[in-house]
Symmetry: C2
Subunit: 359 residues, 2 copies
């Protein structure tokens, strides 16, 4: 195999594709002067709106952020484009035409922004757990793959390259569900800190092997709950995702060991994911063969993290996330309503639909 | 006369004693996350409250600013000192027990903070005008003093020391009411820029002299409307403030030329002000004799500016200011109410006393 004339450009900073919307409130609103509102729409459900006046080079703008059950809409609107200064309802409609509410109510609780930023950032995680499944040549079933115990020199070299070997006992970092007190999930694992994120790998061969358990549940219960996994192969052998039964695993990065003519360690990479997982970068070069190097490690870790972000948008997780988001938005709404009304010295209770409140 | 063993300390930065409350909103609130409220109190009149949550070394505080007709109250209150999280009315009472309102209403207009900071800073001025009256020995009447035309060498030296001689025609700085287009208030004046403030002096001898007008109205109409004036004397001669009839002049800094044994220019300074003008620094050393120096110039200019600030608190100006403040607070209240109600899509009109608004 020849080393791909890897376009040097990608060795530049490969980008993490986290959901940009989730960080907008912290970036533009938190700690800065702005006003929050809440309302409840018959069809769209609970709404939380953030409004900020921004002057950029003499131009007056309104930065708007509207949170609904299904997502967050954001825009920066020059006031000059509007024929009059919009009220809260009109502002919300600027972001989402379907908004159909009588009124928005002001959030008045001085600590509200902490609640709002926590809601916005509930999708952002700084902790990741990825499976690392060791597949030997010719193995085509889950049972075979999860029963491997002997780690080849190539696999050990790859694990060493991937991250730090850590002792699980009393490990203080992100443990990704592994047992750090009673040693029930093995003694060691592979862990790394990358761009401020903690990554714990679930290495199949390092999870406890159970004699006579063809399913190797002690291994499957961790890896089967990961969303993204690496498949490591000493040499080329077919990998079919359906081989592994899991509701969670949605994307695999297959890393196949190979060597250059001069004996350097090379890794041939391919990626497979379920149909409804949107594309995630950085794009694989062609051919996708990498020298064992810091650049490749960066490429691989970013690819894994982006894979996870992308999987969040696959139907299963998107639905799950929408339920989570919807529940969190409802509790945010209720807290903001309760606190704002008490701030006004008003009795707790439903906001009347038609009111001439606000002084 | 011996040079006072001037305590070196005061030659450190002499402080301007401007009203600190006026700058609090810009310092702690403007541009930062906070909430404003408005209400109307039967006895206290219009109220505008600013509330900000501040965490200082793990301690949670509420920074509060309450504007009433008569003044602005400010405090930083640790939340731990309160048995429950206060609502807006309770917060206002924390600053001013006399507050007796049903409710406060939220300010919701994104550009409100600009209106509020303008109100708070209406007392802050960066432009000053001071009289400089040349009194010759033995002169005891306004007519005599305002008729002086020949400037002594000592007076010229002092004017040169005080500021820059400027040509009034087309002068672009703060003109303090002088004519910069048609030369009707003389051709020259003395002006200076000091710590970001513009000072225009009304020098009696440089204002037009009118033959046969004993009152010298062309000179009196400027100096008589100043609040603070310098009286310059070539040598010691009695100065009695009542000598000059003016409703505005409230404080005088008398500067009497003198010389050291070695012939250096010295200035003997005394200060007189109306009874209801509170003390203003920097304190005069004892004896109050200064070498002509940058330190003395700084002392003199700060003394003049502080004199003006202090005079604002004398009854005449305090009353004037209260009327101005009350009118400005009313228009601020109305604008905030109008804008906030329109922000909520509510019809313009009085806030109903008892409402269950705010969602």
């Amino acid at each position: 195999p020849t080393l791909s004339d890897v376009p040097f450009s990608w060795s530049g900073k490969v980008k993490l594709e986290s959901d940009p919307t989730a960080k907008l409130y912290r970036k533009h609103f938190l700690g800065k002067e702005h006003q929050n509102f809440y309302s409840s729409d018959m069809s769209l459900g609970y709404l939380v709106l953030s409004v900020k006046y921004e002057q950029i080079e003499k131009q007056e703008n309104l930065r708007l952020l509207l949170r609904t059950r299904t997502g967050t809409k954001h825009d920066l609107i020059p006031i000059s484009c509007l024929n009059e200064f919009p009220n809260a309802v009109q502002m919300a409609k600027l972001l989402c035409e379907d908004v159909n509410v009588e009124r928005f109510f002001p959030v008045l609780y001085p600590k509200a922004s902490q609640l709002i930023v926590a809601f916005d950032e509930h999708v952002i995680s700084n902790n990741f757990k990825f499976g690392v499944i060791y597949q030997k040549p010719g193995q085509t079933t889950e049972e075979e793959v999860f029963s491997n115990t002997v780690e080849s020199q190539g696999f050990l070299e790859f694990l060493d390259f991937l991250g730090d070997k850590i002792q699980l006992q009393d490990f203080r970092g992100f443990r990704g569900g592994l047992d750090v007190t009673r040693g029930q999930t093995g003694t060691e694992s592979v862990y790394t800190n990358f761009r401020g994120k903690e990554i714990m790998f679930h290495v199949s061969t390092k999870l406890p092997f159970t004699e006579g358990d063809s399913q190797q549940l002690q291994r499957k219960r961790h890896i089967g709950n990961d969303i993204v996994a690496i498949i490591f192969q000493d040499e080329s052998t077919p990998f079919v995702p359906d081989m592994i039964a899991s509701n969670f695993l949605h994307a695999y990065v297959v890393v196949q060991l190979t060597h250059s003519t001069t004996g350097d360690t090379l890794y041939k990479v391919s990626v497979t994911a379920r149909d409804d997982v949107p594309f995630f970068g950085p794009p694989l070069p062609n051919p996708a063969i990498f020298k064992k190097s810091a650049e490749f490690r960066e490429f691989l870790l970013v690819k894994l993290i982006n894979a996870e972000y992308s999987c969040y948008r696959a139907e299963k997780f998107a639905k799950l996330e929408e339920r989570t988001r919807s529940a969190l938005l409802e509790s945010l709404f209720e807290e903001l309503q309760l606190r704002s009304r008490s701030m006004m010295g008003l009795p707790v209770g439903e906001d009347d639909k038609i009111e001439n409140g606000s002084g």
